[in-house]
């Protein structure tokens, strides 16, 4: 029995907080994401989205507070959390020097998928993400959209309960974007995976997410379905209007998200460039 049959939320934060010296990146955050939903996290740069995801994926310990992911406490049971989640970072997580097949093979081995099951899972994953023909090519020769699809396939090999996608379509052209969206929807349909994703793309949030949270200065300032958020902002309002209303002048790039602002920007741009 999956925990989702017994429990409502796949993710629940409890006073979750992360400080970097004097900066409070995530400030006593309280929210939950229903099992099986696609939950979108919006916010200007520096709102705390990446810090939040790093904590939920156990890459970064919280300064205080905690969260439950797939039924496990991220502070007390990080190993169980890691077994239950998939994560596709904003940066490239597929290894360009390995083939698509090899990337999946190494992941399968790390997650203990063995024997017959391994080859069939890898085959299915390649098929599902329409990558079968490119399986033996090295990933550095893939297009941006193919890399993203491979990374999502990789993160789904062990059928995680919760999947974290950090800016899954950043730097992709509209066609590649649409293909990634379709595959994300299919994942949820087929495996009932809960998906938490960050995005800058209002169209993406509107079209793909069941729930949207807008984050600003370490807090969630708006939370609801895209329809209800838009209705709350006025007649014919778009999600962009909601965003502006919620974050004020924060539309322009905000302050540091974490210690190394410059480094982060550099990374983001590098990623975007490579994915073009």
């Amino acid at each position: 029995m999956r925990y989702s049959d017994r429990m409502e939320s796949a993710i629940q934060t409890i006073q979750l907080t992360r400080r970097y010296d004097s900066l409070v990146a995530v400030d006593h955050l309280e929210f939950s994401a229903a099992a099986g939903s696609i939950f979108g996290l919006l916010g200007p740069n520096g709102a705390g989205k990446s810090t939040l995801i790093k904590m939920l994926t156990t890459l970064l310990p919280p300064s205080s507070g905690t969260a439950r992911v797939a039924g496990y406490d991220i502070v007390r049971k990080p190993a169980d959390v890691r077994r239950s989640i998939g994560y596709v970072a904003q940066m490239l997580s597929a290894d360009g020097d390995l083939t698509g097949y090899e990337n999946l093979l190494i992941s399968a081995k790390l997650y203990g998928i063995r024997g017959q099951a391994r080859e069939s899972r890898i085959g299915e994953a390649l098929e599902f993400m329409s990558l079968t023909e490119a399986a033996e090519k090295r990933v550095k020769h893939y297009s941006g959209g193919m890399i993203r699809r491979l990374e999502i396939a990789q993160s789904m090999l062990h059928r995680p309960e919760v999947l974290f996608l950090d800016e899954p379509t950043i730097g992709l052209d509209p066609v590649a974007k649409r293909s990634v969206w379709d595959h994300i929807r299919e994942l949820r349909e087929q495996f009932g995976t809960t998906i938490l994703m960050t995005t800058h793309d209002m169209q993406e949030a509107d079209g793909l997410c069941d729930m949207v949270a807008i984050m600003y200065q370490g807090h969630i300032v708006s939370l609801g379905t895209p329809v209800s958020l838009k209705a709350g902002a006025g007649p014919e309002a778009t999600l962009n209007d909601v965003f502006i209303l919620s974050t004020g002048a924060a539309m322009t790039d905000g302050a540091a998200e974490e210690g190394g602002t410059f480094r982060d920007v550099g990374r983001t741009r590098r990623t975007a460039r490579r994915l073009e």
Partner: protein, 273 residues
Amino acid sequence: MSEELAVRHAAWSDTPQPLALLLQILAVAEADVRKLLHDPMELFTRMLQPVLWLVIFAPVFSRTRAIPTGGLRYLDFMAPGVLAQSVMFGAIFYGVSIIWERDQGVLQKFLVSPAPRVALVAGRALSSTFRAVVQAIVVYVIALWMGVALQFSAWRMAGVLLTVMLGAAIFSTFSLVAACIVKSRERFMGIGQVLTMPLFLASNAIYPLSLMPGWLQVLARINPLSYQVDLLRGLMVRGGYSVLGFGMDAAVLALWLAVLIAIATKLYPRIVI
């Protein structure tokens, strides 16, 4: 609860923990080795250093006859030192690839996997031993060509390979620790440059411990490279012997590796923060 876990995560549940750990270590190493096989250029560039030492330095230096080698020709005395040195120089920059992978994002993928941190660290150490074995073969070929009095019995060869692998694991893990502390490629390269020559010179690679001033002997006796060289000198060449004893050498190297892996395991998650 544990029953539920077993059903949900059937993957690892049927595997005893030590075996699971071993398989994860192998998976981490495999990723690295496969990359190396796709692009073996790095292995070739590493061949240059030992060639320089054995073909240029050794013949010139052996003319001085100033170094007490315990009855060995200087070339024979130096060949084990050159092997140990080339393995160390290769392994000490291993941390760069970790930082590179961190910058790309590949490393985060390993850190969110259920593999324990110690498996990630040990897997890296293991993959560096693969490179070391390739280097050992190269050094043997050059040494043979130069007329070094190599010994080829099976147990000696096995001993040499094990020693070289141990040395690579030690210095690559040391490099990993440094990478976790400095976190940027530029700073790391600086540190690597600063460390290699002192480690090399404060060892018995090209002159014996007995020739060093007291303070340098103390440093050389801490330096794991000295123990690696001492082992190799006893194993590789005719007439060579271990000054400190095989048991002592192996024990010190094993201790160094255990300590470094423990530190690296502790520091490893910090590299992505």
